[in-house]
């Protein structure tokens, strides 16, 4: 027994500490929200619809009157809202550890890119991605409502939409193997 005690003291104690630490991580829940194939599909479908809207605005350029597009903008914002809500539902499966890490990352990114940290408080990384996608769509709508913009601006915004959706889907699909 003495030999056993000595062995436990020598080798098991650090191992138990490691187990405790990992169990604590496990108890704190997953670090990332679960994969949601439906959300990925909905995001791709949204990309097509929003892309079609921007393409039409690009064709019309400064001739595109906001009043004619108001219903489609409302639809685009509602679609972005729906994606954010779905990401919010998925975030319920995120552990405390994952939430704390997301909070730190989101706050640092907001501070470094001119965003407001408070807007991202309590959001998972996935939620924050959809929040920013929605923010882009809102900005596009606001600028159109403020007055017509050039075709080149809409061309640039089509590129922004592509890059934004790529960033969202990169994070969402990376969880597929989890």
């Amino acid at each position: 027994m003495t030999a056993l005690s000595a062995r436990i003291a020598r080798t098991a104690a650090p191992l138990l500490a490691l187990v405790w630490l990992l169990a604590a991580c496990g108890a704190a829940g997953p670090l990332t929200a679960p994969y949601d194939a439906g959300l990925v599909e909905a995001t791709s479908a949204y990309h097509q619809r929003a892309g079609a809207l921007l393409a039409q605005l690009e064709d019309e350029g400064r001739a595109a009157a906001y009043a004619d597009y108001a219903p489609r903008w409302a639809e685009a914002v509602a679609g972005a809202d729906a994606l954010f809500v779905r990401a919010t539902a998925n975030a319920q499966g995120l552990g405390d550890g994952g939430r704390a890490l997301a909070q730190t990352i989101n706050a640092a990114l907001a501070a470094g890119t001119g965003g407001a940290s408070a807007d991202y408080a309590g959001l998972s990384l996935s939620q924050a991605q959809y929040y920013d996608l929605r923010l882009l769509v809102l900005r596009w709508r606001e600028s159109h409502a403020a007055g017509p913009v050039s075709a080149d601006v809409w061309t640039a915004r089509r590129g922004q939409l592509n890059d934004a959706v790529a960033a969202v889907l990169l994070l969402e699909t990376a969880r597929a193997g989890g």
Partner: protein, 122 residues
């Protein structure tokens, strides 16, 4: 009961368990880390190229009078939101990799402690 547990505990080679757990972690880190790195590198390359292309396009539009300075400024502000989204995606990939490593270690240790205790510890 207690003696049985102590006997089983005595039979466990903790050095081997630790080596196995760390080996599983290393395998997970290498497998996932490799994919993550390739993905992140490609993503960063594409994102940088895309940003540069857009910057050039905006400069040309400005020079040709097809875009106002206000419009160019507005696009630049929107590009900052995009930069935030790209960086967040990269950070998320790192978190996913960390989760895999934790699960790999827990998988090894969970089995050992269940054998020793006769019930699931965690």
């Amino acid at each position: 009961m207690t003696t049985g547990i102590l006997d089983r505990l005595d039979a466990v080679d903790f050095d081997a368990v630790l080596a196995e757990a760390l080996g599983a972690a290393k395998t997970a880190a290498l497998a996932i880390g490799g994919e993550t790195w390739d993905l992140a590198r490609e993503f960063a390359k594409e994102a940088a190229k895309s940003l540069k292309d857009r910057g050039v396009a905006v400069a040309k539009s400005l020079a040709a009078g097809r875009m106002t300075e206000d419009e160019a400024r507005m696009l630049a502000e929107e590009d900052m939101i995009l930069a935030r989204m790209r960086l967040r995606a990269a950070a998320g990939l790192a978190l996913i990799a960390a989760q895999k490593v934790i699960e790999a270690i827990l998988g090894v240790l969970r089995g050992v402690f269940q054998r020793v205790l006769g019930f699931a510890l965690f």
